[in-house]
Every structure is written in C-alpha cells, then in structure tokens.
C-alpha cells in the first residue's frame, strides 16, 4: 500500500467536497442541531425552571443580610430529641434527631435534625438536612444543603446523599453523549455513499482505474475523504456543545461538568470507530449499487450498530462508563478492520466497469 496515492485520492475528493456548498452546509448543520441546539434545549429549561441546589457566596451576602441582635455563641438550657415541631419559635434549645418545620430557631444547637421552611439564626448545626431554610450568622458541619438560602458564614455542607441534579445529570449526559456517537455514524451516509458510484455516474471511474493506483489505495483514499469531514464536523459540534453546556451548568452546580473522562474517551475512541464503520459500510454499498440514491437509501442502514448501542443506553441496559467505551470501541474497531478487508476483497474493477452501464 502506497499511502501517498491514498493521500492524493483523498485530497482530490476533499477538493471536490469543498465545492459542494449544500453538502458542506448539511454536514455542519446536522451536528450543530443535534449536538448543540438539542442539548441546550434540554438543559436550559431544566436549570432555569427546576429548583436546584444552590450554595451562595455567604460572605458576600452578609452585607445585605440583617445582623442578629444576639451575636453571642449559642447556648442551651433545654434538650429536645426525636420530636417533630411545626410553626414554633425556639431559643437556646439543643435539638437531636428532631424535625422542625416552619420554625424560627435562634441561638440553638441542632444535631442530626431536619429543618424545613424555617429560619435559623446564630445557631450551630451538625449533620443536619436543611430544606428551604434561611440561615443567618450560624455555623455548622455535615449539612445536606438542598434549598438553602444562607446568609451566614462557616457553614460546611457535606452532601450526605446525591442531590436530584446529581442523579439526573449522568443519565442526561449519557443520552447527549449518544448523540455525539450517532452524528459521526450518520454523516458518512451523505459523503461516502457517493464515493464510488458517484465516480461511476460521473464517468470518471474508468480513467481513474486505468492509473497504477491499487484497489487498497483507492479505497483508503475514499474512506479518509469521507471520514475526515464527518469527524471534523462532529468535533466542531462536540467542542461547541461542551463549552455551551458548561456555561449553562456551571452557575448551578459550581463546576464545569464536561468533558468528563467518559466523554473524552468517547470522542477519542468510540466516535472515530463508529464513524469509520459507517464510512466502510457506505463505501461497500457505493461499490455495489449503480445509483447514488440507492446507495444513500441503503447507507441509512449502516448506523444500525450504533442505533443498537443507543437503544441500550436509552433503555438503561447500557451505561456508557469508560470501561464500556473501551469495550464498544474495541468491538467497533474489530468490525472496522473486518469490513475494510471485506470491502477490499470484493472490490471488483471489472464488475464496476461492466455491470453498471
């Protein structure tokens, strides 16, 4: 195999591709729609409308919060354990294993207590859950901080269990990630199905086959010329999608969630192997049919292995972890190699020239 010849074939195909403005448009538009617009349309309403965990900059808010009259350290003169209270005011009380709803709590110590829709001021909190609670000038550790509006300092939140968003995000990321696997598997149907049958219809195949270029060189050139634009458009949409999703999510969860290891591995291993598989299948179809439309119709079936993976993910049978990425990338890589050898073996110059007329 002289790679130089494959490179020449690829460059010529890319030169031709650059002249097809509508094809370029569809190659870029599809990943942008699926990989950028669709995820944003999913996440923006979620983060703007749903109640999410929030951790405010409590020191910054001290200035606008009203300072309590009693700034002394909390002390207690009574203990209440294993009890629920609603709509009451407590001062200087030690709560343990209690539940407080719609209460005003001042200068108390609360341990392992659940506090709902209340105000806590000048108190000390340990291992408690606070839901929709305004905390003023207090301290605490081991807190689960859902729905907290804190105007205080020295509160150490420790997530004792995953929040709703933490549970939902990985599932959603998995589904969005599938889009970035589907895109490179779908795009080659636009380019690669044209590769051989297009040359035949253009009547340029005969002079091309009359050159000393071998079957392998010709096929490799055709494969790369479909692979590169497909992966290029996918990476463009991936980068744009990741940046915009981070911009949307950082204010709500406090850190850029993407790209995580799974996403990076997917882009490095799974997307290219899925893309290559699609390209190979499309080139195979293209070398066997006599009409571009037939090639594109049949080319639609080549995304089936990726669709199977997607169904597995959506149905919850498969979770795209790094290990699963390696497994599927290996599987797709093996299929790619087998397909290339198969395409090369059945590529028949004579049949292409004489049976397509």
């Amino acid at each position: 195999m002289r790679w130089r010849n494959a490179w020449i074939v690829m460059r010529k195909d890319l030169d031709e591709f650059k002249k097809q403005k509508f094809v370029i448009g569809s190659i870029i538009a599809m990943p942008i729609l699926l990989g950028v617009v669709l995820p944003l349309a999913t996440f923006v309403p979620l983060v703007t409308m749903a109640p999410l965990d929030q951790q405010w900059d409590i020191d910054g808010l001290l200035e606008i919060g009203s300072l309590p009259d009693d700034t002394a350290a909390p002390w207690t003169n009574q203990t209440r354990t294993d009890t629920s209270y609603e709509a009451m005011v407590f001062r200087h009380t030690f709560f343990k294993n209690a539940s407080l709803t719609n209460c005003i709590i001042e200068s108390c110590i609360l341990e392992n207590t659940t506090i709902l829709d209340s105000t806590v001021q000048n108190s000390s909190l340990v291992d408690s859950v606070l839901l929709n609670v305004t905390v003023i000038r207090s301290e605490g550790t081991g807190l689960d901080g859902k729905f907290i509006l804190a105007v205080s300092s020295d509160l150490a939140f420790t997530r004792t269990k995953p929040s709703e968003i933490d549970q939902v995000l990985p599932m959603m990321f998995n589904m969005i990630l599938m889009i970035f696997i589907i895109i490179p598997a779908t795009l080659p149907t636009i380019i690669a199905t044209y590769s051989i049958v297009g040359e035949k219809n253009n009547r340029s195949l005969e002079p091309l086959l009359a050159t000393p270029t071998t079957d392998g060189e010709l096929l490799a050139g055709k494969i790369f010329s479909a692979f590169l634009p497909s992966m290029g458009a996918t990476l463009l949409a991936f980068t744009l999608g990741v940046v915009l999703l981070d911009i949307v999510l950082i204010p709500k969860i406090g850190y850029p969630p993407l790209p995580n290891l799974t996403w990076i591995l997917s882009m490095v291993l799974l997307a290219p192997t899925a893309c290559l598989m699609s390209v190979l299948a499309c080139v195979l179809v293209s070398s066997k049919v006599s009409d571009v439309r037939a090639a594109q119709q049949l080319g639609g079936f080549v995304v089936m292995p990726v669709v199977i993976l997607m169904i597995g993910v959506l149905a919850g049978f498969i979770f795209l972890s790094p290990i699963m990425i390696f497994v599927f990338a290996g599987l797709y890589g093996g299929l790619d190699l087998g397909l290339f050898l198969f395409v090369k073996a059945i590529f028949n110059r004579e049949a292409i020239l004489t049976k397509w007329s």
């Binding site: 030169d15 002079p207 004489t354």
Partner: protein, 308 residues
Amino acid sequence: MIVCEGLTKLFGSVTAIQDFSLEIPDGCIFGLLGPNGAGKTTTMRMLSCLIAPSSGMAHIDSYDIRKKEDAQKIRGMIGLLPEVPGLYETLGAYKNLDYYGQLYGVPKQQRQEAIQKTLSNLELWDRRSEPVGGFSKGMKQKIAIARALIHDPKYIFLDEPTASLDPVAAKIVREYILELKRKGNTILINTHNLSEAERICDTVAVVKNRMVKIGNPKQLAKGLFTRTVTITLQSIPPKVLQEIESFALVSDVQVKENQLIVHVRNPKEDNPQILSWLLQQGAKVQFIQEEEHSLEDVYLKLIEEAGQ
C-alpha cells in the same frame, strides 16, 4: 509491442470478443474498426488491465495482462482516453491534470511544466482554475486527451478521440496523434470515423466480436474488391452494348448514360486490351479512370459479410 493471442472475453453467455489475435509493432497507429457492441472497447479495456480476459493472452512489452503483478506496470505505461472524458466537473483543468499526474507518479516540477505547456497550447492557461463543467464538449475532450498523456506514456489508447470535436479541433487532434507517432509512441484507436482511420492508421482491424480482417487500409480494399474501371465514351455504339457482356476480360457491366462501368481483374494488363477492343468497335473514348474503394466501402462490405 502489443501481442494478443486468442484473446476472448465472455460476459455470461454473451461473447464480447472471441479468439482475437494481433501484433501491434512499436511506433504504429493501429485502428480498431467495428460497429457498436463489436468488442472494441472490451479489447481496449483488457489491454489496459481494467478487465480480465476469459481466455487467451496478451503481452504489452514483456508484461502479461493476466498477471496481477504486471497489471500495475502496464497501467503505468498506458495513457487511456475513454469514450467519455470523465473529468471532475467541479474542479479546474489544472487540478484535473495535476491529480492524474500525481497518480501516475510524475515529479512535481515536470508535472507543472507539462500542465502549463498543455493548457497554454489549448489556450486554457488563463482559465485553468475554472470548473471544467462549464467548458464545451470539445474542450473537455482535449483536456481528457491531455490527461491521458500527462505521464508521457509509451502506449496511448484512444477510444473515439475525435467523436465530439468540431472539424478544426478534430484536425488538430489527428495532427497531434501523428506527431505522437513520430515521437515513437504506439497508438491504438477505436473509431467509427473511417476517413480518419484511413488517413492516420498504419494498420486497421475490422472487428465484429472477432477479428474480421486486418491490414493496411488500402491493401484491404484491393484484396476485397475487384477493380472497377469507368470508361467514358463520346457515345456508346450499339455493337458495344450487344457484345461487351460477352467480352471475357470484364464482368458486371453497368451502363450509365455514356459511361461503361466495368469490373476487371488486372487493370494494368486488361485495360489496354479493353481499349483497343472498344476502338475496333468504333467507340470514341474520352476518359478512363479506376474507381478507388474507400475504407468505408471495405468496412461496410466486411461487416455485412461478418453478419452473414
């Protein structure tokens, strides 16, 4: 040298060409003549290693078209112009030629010089970047011919090279083909243009799914037809009309106004005797001329016979 022996190609039950044998010496222009479907393009494709023969063999120089390892070398020695130019219509003339130059392994500088020279000769250098899709048929054909020659091949196979060209462009191409011959190239032409074949081909082969006849265009005519002589008289005496049919040296006599059209076997020896006989009969001879059979006559007769 190209040598074919018993070359046969079957497509299923259809015989494209059968038992085709010939020798094309170096530096010769060889024409393949035949109707559509006669197997000319199939033969050219087999010799270009695009399709494999069903049986028989062919060598180009010392390379065997049946051997896979030789096919690549043979393709490198041949410049092929197919029936249709098959250019990349969205690309410019320069890129079309450059692409093939690269595939044939022509060094960059040599390639650039060759392309510049060719496109300048075709008066296309200023339009080298324009998509060739906008060019005329003739212009595309010229670019396709230039593409076949980009690697300076020893053997040039041209399938209907002047089919889509206007008379002036066709003449330029014919002259170019003759120039290539002078340079020592060996040229195989498939053509329907019989006057063109007659003018430029050293040897022609009439094919109709097999070799019908091979030879120099003029020799073919001589071997195929009896010689026709037209004798124009001032007037035809009645005695001549009555007796010429029985005159031993002529056959198939036709009378057209004051002309006698007769077929003779050996004009050089027979014509003086015929003339003296006519003079004896009182005929006054104005002109005598031999009718030459064109390659078209030869072709039509051969194809008709092959059909029978």
